[in-house]
Amino acid sequence: MAILTHPHMRVLVQGMTGHEGSFHTRQMIDFGTNIVGGVTPGKGGEWISGKPVFDSVIAAIEATEANTSVIFVPPEHASDAIYEAIDAGIDLIVCITEGIPVQDTMRLYDYLKQSNSRLLGPNCPGILTPSGISIGIIPGYITKKGTIGVASRSSTLTYEMIYHLSENGLGQSTCVGIGGDPIIGTSFVDVLEMFENDPDTEKILLIGEIGGRAEIDAASYIKAHMTKPVAAFIAGKSAPISERMGYAGAIIEQGHGTAEEKIMALAQAGVRIANNPDHLVELLR
C-alpha cells in the first residue's frame, strides 16, 4: 500500500531535458519508477533515457496516459508548469523547484484548491516508497523497506535521517518531503492522516525545523486523531530567533516558531522527541 504512491502510477517529468531533470529521470527509472515520458516546450520529439519528450502535458497524457507529474522546471516557469498539470487533470503533482515567489504560490494555491489535483511542494525532495517508486530526488540507495512513515519539511536532513534509520535496520513504508516553502500544497497534517490510515505504516517520524507553525498544527492533529506512535526531530535548537515579519506577521504566526515551542507542543501531544540521529533510532526501534 504505502501512501501517495500506487502501482498504477504513470509518471511524467516536466523539465525532463534540463540538467537536473535528465539526471533524476535516470535515477527514478533505475529505482523502478514507471516514468512514461517528459515535457519540455519546444523539445517535443526528443528522447531522454529511452522515454519520449512532448511539447505539452496534454499531448503527453494523450500518448502515455500519465496520471502523475514531477516538476524540475526553473522557478520563473515552474508555476506555469503546475497550472498546466492541473488543467490537464494530473492527479498528483510533485514540484521539486525551489525559489517560486510567494505571490505566485498564493494564486496557484487558490486555483489548486478548486481542482482535483494534489500538489506536493514546491521546494520539496518528493516521495519515495522503498518497494520501487521514487518521484523526486530522494537518493534511492539510502532507503530500506519497512514500516516507518517519514514526513519532513527539509531535503538533505531527511536523507540524513533516512540513511541513519536504514543503517540501523529500521526500514520505511513511504518517505515524504512536504517542502520548505512557506506555502505548500500538502501539509504535515495531510501526510499524518494518510500514514494513520495506511496499514503498511506502524510508526511515524516527523522531521521539522524552526519557523512557521506547521509542527504546532501537526501536534494538535496528533493529539486529537492519531493512534500510531510518532517520534519527531526538530532542527534549529541553537539557531537565532528568525527575523519577525512586522506586526502583521507576529499576529498571524502567533509565536516565534522556535524549536522549543515546537518541541513543547509535540511533547504535549505525546510525541517522543529525539535530540540527535542516534537517539531517534532508539525511539523508533
Partner: protein, 382 residues
Amino acid sequence: MLRLQDFQSKHQLQKCGIPTVLGRLAFTPDEVLEIASDLNQPVVIKAQVLSVDRNRSQGVEYAATPEEAKEKASNLFSQKVQGLDVKQVLVEPKIYLKRKVYLGITYDRALGRPVLVASNDRATVDENIPRNAPVDVIRQYIKPILGLRSYQITNIASMLELPRHLWEPFRNLTHGLYTCYTESDALLAELNPLVVTHKDELIALDATLVIDDNALYRQPELALMQEPTDHKFANEEGLNYVKLDGQIGCMVNGTGLAMTTMDMIIQHGNGSIRPANYLDIGDGATADRVAEGLQLILKDADVKSILINIFGGLTRCDEVANGIIKVCSEKVPTQPIVVRLQGTNAPQGLDILRNATIPNLFTARHLPEAVLVAIQKVMVNE
C-alpha cells in the same frame, strides 16, 4: 528577505497612490539644517537604520527650528540606534495628528492567502509588543484570484470606527496598499502608523515593505536597494554565509542539515566549543562554488577546525571533493578539515579525496562521528 528602509518603502507606496510624508534624506547635520530651512516649519528627524525589530520611538527627534534640527541631528549621527550606526536621516515636516491606526498586509502560511490586518490598539502602533500579547486585531483574508474587495475594506473601516467621511479615502488607500503588496512582490506591506491629521487627512507616517528574494529577478528596481550587512550575505553564487561566535567552520548543503550539524556541535561541545560560522552551499553546488565557500570559511581567523558535511541529492559529492582539492592544492590550510560525504556520488568523492593525500584532512562516515572529530581537533589545537 529584502527589508526596505522607511523612505524607500514610502516611495513605493506613493507610486500606488498612498498619501505619505515623503521628506528628504540627509547625510550630515548641515544638510538637515538646509532641508529644515527649506521646509520652514517644525520637523521630525528619523534615523534610517534597518533593525529587525524597530522600536518606532527610537532614533526619532522633533525640532521646532532649523537650528534645533541641526543640533538634534548631530546627536543622532553620533549615536547608535539599536546597535547600528546612523548614516542617514530622513527629515519630514511634523504632522499634527488626531489618531493613529495600524494597517498591514502579509500572508497566512496555513491558509495560503494574503491577510489584511488592522488595529486601533495603541500597543500595536507605539510599542515593540511581544508576539503573543493580546491585542484587538481585525483581519480580512483575501482570495488572490478575486483580489481585495471593497466590502472587505468597508468592514475594516467600520470595525476601526473610522468616521464615515474618511471611508472613501480609506478605501482608495487600502486598495493602493494591496496593489503595492502584489506588484512589488512583497511578503509584508505595512503602514505603522497610518494617521488622521488635524486637517482630517489620512497619511502614512511610517511604512515597511519586505520583498520576496525569490521575486527580485522581476523587480529590478527593488533589487538595486539590496545592501549586504556585516553578519550575513547571500552572494550571486547562491552561498549563504553566517558568522557565529565559536571555533568550528561549517560547510553544509541545505538549511535543515546545516542547523542540525550546528545543534550537534553545540550539544557535544559542552558549551565551550561552538560553530564559528556556517555556510550553506545550497543545492547542486559546483566544484567552483565549493572552493569559493571554503576560501570564505578559511578567511575567518576564529576557525580552528573545519567540518564539511554534505549529503548529496541534487549536490554531487564528486563536485564537492574537487572543490576541496582545488583549494588545498593551491595552499594547504593550517586548520584540520573533517569531511563527511554521503549520498549522490559519495564513493567517487571519497576516492578523489583519498587519492589527493592532503595532510590534515580527515574523512568520516557518519555525522555524529564527523562532529566529534571536528570538536576533538579544536581541543588539540587549543
